[in-house]
């Protein structure tokens, strides 16, 4: 019987199926960081339990790590310092590989997993973070879990799960000039809505996806959770293998050859059953920007802020009204009339070398507008170094952007980088929720190139005018 990619990975990881419909699923890779792991380690300790396979967990601190200052000094914020020191101590106690804050390999957990070759096709990968969906770009079944499940994985290397449904997002056509994977992801969110993929694993298929780089595929899969999806997937191909080959933790020699042979079978069979299919014409897309407080609340940059009365349902009208009130926007305003105060280029969605190149290509065309503060936060120390070797840091700094140290930074705003109350930020991150970038902060999601253009213009603007 023809199977989807998701079904293939799922079935090859079932330790045992139970009559009640649940399954014990084996977990090949687990990523841990400082915020959602301490209670899991504490629970293990309380129950006198051990970590079953410490070598299958990789840990790094990212959320609370400052992007300014000296990395060899202890953190100054007492809460974050306590969490980072606790993570380090837990890893030492249980024999888990930990990348220290001062190490050049440190970075956002979803950037360093792939970068180190810890992320592999066909594997099951979990982390106590919803954006674990990022790793699905490699054809891995990757999903976010809570801390109780982190404890379960540490103790047993398995999770009790129920099978998800299959949703295919078929994307064909060439991305127009100025339109990136982020625009595509945001357009898909708008089409699916904030819960449109709940209970489903999404497989992204089609010619557009096949021609995306790994960075682009990671951006796409990263946002899957914003539609409620359990995970996002892209079938691995030559692009995937070329990107992974030679990574420090990727297989070597004969293991590599055998792995590629196996990974090449990881695609949905002809005639496999999808519960739903959604089609997107990539060639019709414009650069995208959100105006609301859900990633799905956005549109093409040439559009306007919607009017609640144009909504298709009463619930949507109420959601638009609430969002516009929080965002302090008038219905009918052209999106390009919206002035911005802050710019954030970074996050597990858009902090890789390709993202920084796209932003720098725009940044070199001008200077950050008066009154705007713009920061660039690379996803890892290795991304930062690679960018510096290309001179991207100088381009950003000459244009008036701040060039920071790696971490989650202003995406989740727990490391001291935050948008002040009432301020408006053009951000390459993944969530525009109320207060996400700080209490009262107003977020407009967009691509790295669009965010760089917004920095130069001091308002939301069409990046195509800068290309």
């Amino acid at each position: 019987m023809p199977r989807t990619l998701y079904e293939k990975i799922w079935e090859s990881h079932v330790v045992e199926e139970r009559p009640d419909g649940s399954a014990l699923l084996y977990i090949d890779r687990h990523l841990a960081y400082e915020i959602t792991s301490p209670q899991a380690f504490a629970a293990l300790r309380t129950a006198g339990r051990t970590v079953r396979r410490p070598e299958l967990t990789l840990a790094v601190a990212d959320h609370g790590v400052p992007t300014l200052g000296c990395r060899s000094q202890p953190l100054t914020d007492p809460g974050s310092r306590m969490q980072v020191e606790t993570l380090q101590a837990n890893c030492a106690e249980f024999g888990i590989t930990y990348i220290p804050v001062s190490d050049e390999r440190q970075g956002i957990v979803h950037v360093i997993g792939p970068e180190q070759g810890f992320t592999l096709p066909g594997a099951t990968i979990v982390c106590g973070d919803s954006h674990t969906s990022t790793h699905g770009a490699f054809g891995a079944l990757a999903f976010g879990i809570g801390t109780s499940e982190v404890e379960h994985v540490l103790a047993t290397q398995t999770l009790v799960q129920v099978r998800s449904k299959n949703l295919r997002v078929q994307i064909d056509g060439e991305l127009p000039r100025g339109v990136a994977a982020k625009d595509l992801a945001l357009a898909i969110m708008a089409k699916l809505g904030p819960h449109g993929a709940t209970g489903h694993v999404v497989e992204y298929c089609g010619s557009t996806v096949e021609s995306l780089s790994m960075e682009g595929r990671m951006t796409l899969c990263n946002m899957s959770i914003e539609a409620g999806a359990r995970a996002g997937l892209v079938a691995p191909d030559e692009t995937t293998f070329a990107w992974l080959k030679g990574r420090p933790m990727a297989p070597k020699g004969s293991h590599w050859d055998a792995a590629v042979k196996f990974w090449s079978t990881l695609r949905s069979d002809e005639g496999a059953h999808f519960d739903r299919t959604v089609a997107i014409d990539a060639s019709s897309l414009a650069p995208w920007v959100t105006w609301g407080t859900r990633p799905s609340q956005g549109g093409g940059v040439t559009g306007r802020v919607p009017r609640p009365e144009d909504a298709t349902s009463e619930a949507d009208a109420a959601a638009i009204s609430r969002a516009l009130s929080y965002m302090n926007l008038e219905p009918g305003t052209p999106l390009t009339d919206i002035r911005i105060d802050r710019v954030f280029i970074g996050s597990c969605t858009n902090s890789r070398l390709e993202d920084l190149r796209a932003a720098a290509a725009v940044a070199r065309k001008g200077r950050v507008a008066d009154g705007v503060r713009a920061i660039v936060v690379p996803g890892s120390g290795l991304v930062r170094r690679a960018a510096e070797e290309e001179g991207l840091d100088r381009i950003f700094q000459q244009a008036g952007f701040e060039w920071r140290l790696p971490g989650c930074s202003m995406c989740v705003a727990v490391n001291g980088d935050q948008v002040e109350p009432g301020m408006r930020c053009a951000s390459t991150s993944n969530r525009n929720f109320e207060g996400r970038q700080g209490p009262g902060a107003r977020t407009h999601l967009m691509s790295p190139a669009m965010a760089a253009a917004a920095a130069l213009a001091g308002r939301i603007t069409d990046v195509r005018d800068y290309l």
Binding site: T36, S148, A155, G228
Partner: protein, 209 residues
């Protein structure tokens, strides 16, 4: 873990769709090593006047809803971040059951790990229950996990469905990690064949790090 069987309590409603875990538990309060004492941060940006000038109107702040152990909400409850802090905070505040039109997958799973019951009901039932919490806040709700029903005043019994394994875990108050550890032999057998089929997935502490 304390079993969940039959809960009788008043209820309070926050009838919004897509309540995310940032709203339930703002990230700024995540700098903790604890799972307890977090109820004070639940809905912090809604509940406290320093964040919300209209905080007094927020349902959780209205005295007639004090002590409610059931929360009624809309579609896609608990979307966004996977932080279990949101569930720890709901639990610590006193909620044992959330009734909603739908839940995010991650928060739904997190509830069960903490002895809390997420109940999915059709929108019209959710609307009717929410209306009841407003017009008659003293009404006692009964959530019966044996019968899989919610009853409140004249409403119900409203039947809900739940995966059998999750129902069983709650009714018995079982420790899932303990149960899985008892399956160690099956896990070991699986590992042997899995790592034989895909030997490149094996990692040793000494190589490549």
């Amino acid at each position: 873990m304390e079993p969940f069987t039959i809960l009788r309590s008043r209820a309070v409603s926050v009838l919004l769709d897509d309540i995310d875990t940032d709203m339930l538990f703002p990230a700024q309060f995540c700098k903790t090593l604890e799972t307890t004492g977090l109820g004070q941060y639940l809905f912090a940006r809604e509940r406290y006047p320093e964040y919300n000038p209209a905080a007094a109107d927020f349902p959780l702040n209205q005295p007639e809803h004090a002590g409610a152990q059931i929360l009624v909400s809309g579609r896609n409850f608990g979307c966004g971040s996977s932080r279990e802090h949101a569930v720890w905070a709901l639990n610590d505040y006193g909620f044992r059951c959330i009734v909603a039109e739908s839940f995010s997958d991650i928060l739904y799973a997190n509830c069960f790990k903490n002895g809390m019951l997420p109940v999915v009901l059709p929108r019209e039932d959710v609307d009717a229950l929410a209306e009841l919490t407003r017009t008659s806040p003293g009404t006692e709700f009964t959530v019966d996990l044996f019968e899989q029903t919610v009853t409140a005043g004249e409403l119900g019994p409203l039947r809900f469905s739940i995966e059998p394994h999750r129902r069983h875990m709650l009714l018995e108050g079982l420790d899932e990690v303990g149960l899985t550890l008892a399956r160690a032999a099956a896990i070991e057998a699986y590992e042997t064949s899995h790592f034989r089929d895909q030997p490149w997935l094996v990692r040793s502490q000494t190589t490549a790090d």
